[in-house]
């Protein structure tokens, strides 16, 4: 067994455990902290895959910025304790459906690797390693999706500003 495999198994266990902890935790703050740990573990996975840029970006954006804001909101609203029976009617079937799709995808990838079915695409985005490569790929090959994403983010930002503005006027 190689060192990488051992590392991977430990990290995978941590990732699954933190994900479960986040789902099952009754306290919103603990749930958020589990999610932070989960993001950090995913960042280490990126490091194992030889993609330091993605790893560091993951920590900065998800573990650093987004989760801090989550925690901020949880603490500001004082909703630390979740209500006992807080279920949305549509949530369960949707979750099951999405889970099945994810399982099917995983099965397909496993089968494709064994050569049992033909892989959908031979060209996998080869973004690894250096930030230079990531930058070139983003701005040359994937410019349109990149710009559309930035537009989406801009729309969301403007939306947030507008929503908070209107609340103030009342």
């Amino acid at each position: 067994m190689t060192v990488q495999l051992i590392l991977f198994i430990i990290l995978a266990l941590v990732a699954v455990a933190t994900a479960l902890g986040m789902l099952l935790s009754r306290s919103a703050v603990y749930a958020a902290l589990y999610l932070v740990l989960n993001f950090a573990t995913v960042a280490v996975f990126y490091l194992l895959l030889n993609a330091p840029f993605l790893a560091v970006a993951q920590v900065t954006v998800y573990a650093g910025a987004i989760m801090v804001l989550f925690l901020f909101v949880i603490m500001l609203l004082g909703t630390e304790q979740l209500r006992r029976r807080h279920t949305l009617a549509w949530q369960q079937p949707v979750a099951i459906g999405l889970g099945i799709i994810l399982l099917a995808e995983t099965a397909y990838i496993v089968l494709a690797q064994r050569g049992l079915v033909s892989p959908g695409t031979t060209e996998i985005a080869s973004i690894t390693g250096s930030p230079t490569e990531v930058g070139f790929n983003l701005f040359m090959s994937y410019l349109l999706p990149f710009e559309i994403t930035s537009l989406l983010l801009l729309v969301a930002m403007v939306g947030a500003v507008v929503l908070t503005r209107e609340e103030k006027k009342k």
Binding site: G64, A65, V68
Partner: protein
């Protein structure tokens, strides 16, 4: 991994950790001495010659203090929070080079722990997780002042992180690399046409003129990021007694204290590396061992700047602080990036 390399990393990490914690101890002395001179006082002068043993006396006092945990506090997070605060402060300088490679014991030893190709981004990543300790300390104390301090810290650090990250963009664009070693060497390369000693200063001048607002924005944003005066809102005494660490005592309080001072050193090291030539100085070619000395001198002077600011400026009001960060510093940082981009595009 060969054993010698393994030991090299262990020793270098040990030097960094001990250097930072020892630096913390004597930075408190340095600050108290410098502040008292700024305020026409003498400062600590009882423990040892010139009060030099004062940090040790402080440490002993803090170790023997009673540790209190509030009854309705979240115990686990209350104990973890100081640890979570210290760790980012200790690891953030792992990518800062201390000097050129030196030849020692028949080996070429690099004077840095890690030269990764995303070094600058690593700094922003660690800086962005540094806020957790403070937030959790504020929340787990179950005290309204601590809570307010924690919330203020979050809002402030998240806001100033933007300007800070944009300040990092300028040196990265100029050097064409996110590796800190590349950035330092590029600053030397900029002055190369003018010779060794003189060229270093001119190169530094050229480097900083290419991003006229870079150092200033970094300095302001990082002062806010480490909650130093005049941006020490999370611990404003008049409003919040002591802010996020109001319930902490003994060694746990000492850890928060330690994190703040280590962050001061770290920020000074980063500023020296990104804007002031890092370990470089005149006559580096002849004596490469001068590297750490130059870095130390630069950090020492930058620390004085931080203390000087603390001794001079009153604290911001909270709303002014946020307005300043978002409406003034952030656009200014964007402008700085535009200027650098134009300079680089014109071949500067």
């Amino acid at each position: 991994m060969e054993p010698a390399l393994f030991w090299e990393y262990i020793i270098k990490s040990g030097i960094l950790l001990l250097g930072m914690t020892g630096g913390f101890a004597y930075l408190t002395y340095y600050e108290r001495k410098a502040l008292s001179r700024l305020q026409s006082r003498i400062g600590p002068n009882r423990a040892g010659p010139w009060g030099l043993l004062q940090p040790i006396a402080d440490a002993v006092k803090l170790i023997f203090k009673e540790e209190l945990i509030p009854t309705s506090a979240n115990k686990l997070l209350f104990i973890l929070a100081p640890v979570i605060t210290v760790i980012p402060a200790l690891i953030i300088t792992a990518v800062i080079p201390w000097g050129r490679p030196i030849h020692l014991f028949g080996r070429d030893i690099n004077l840095f722990i890690a030269d990764i190709n995303v070094g600058v981004l690593y700094i922003t990543a660690v800086a962005s997780i540094a806020v957790y300790g403070i937030v959790l300390a504020g929340w787990s104390s179950n005290n309204k002042y601590a809570m307010m301090g924690g919330l203020r810290a979050t809002a402030q650090m998240v806001s100033y992180e933007l300007a800070l990250a944009l300040a990092f963009v300028a040196p990265v664009i100029l050097a064409g690399s996110m590796s800190t070693v590349d950035i330092v060497e590029k600053q030397v390369a900029m002055g190369e046409p003018w010779g060794a000693a003189f060229g270093f200063i001119l190169g530094l001048l050229r480097w900083n003129l290419s991003m006229p607002l870079g150092f200033l924005i970094f300095f302001i944003a990082s002062t806010a990021e480490i909650n130093r005066s005049p941006f020490d809102m999370p611990e404003a005494e008049q409003e919040l007694t002591a802010g996020y660490h109001v319930e902490y005592s003994g060694m746990k309080f000492a850890l928060f204290f330690m994190a703040e001072y280590i962050k001061m050193i770290a920020v000074s090291m980063i500023a020296a590396t990104l804007y002031l030539g890092g370990y470089n100085g005149p006559w580096m070619e002849q004596l490469p061992i001068l590297g750490p000395v130059y870095l130390f001198v630069k950090v020492f002077l930058l620390l004085f700047l931080l203390i000087w600011v603390r001794g001079t400026l009153p604290r911001f009001r909270y709303d002014q602080l946020m307005a300043f960060g978002w409406k003034f510093l952030f656009p200014l940082a964007l402008l700085n990036v535009v200027i650098v981009s134009i300079v680089v595009a014109l071949g500067g």
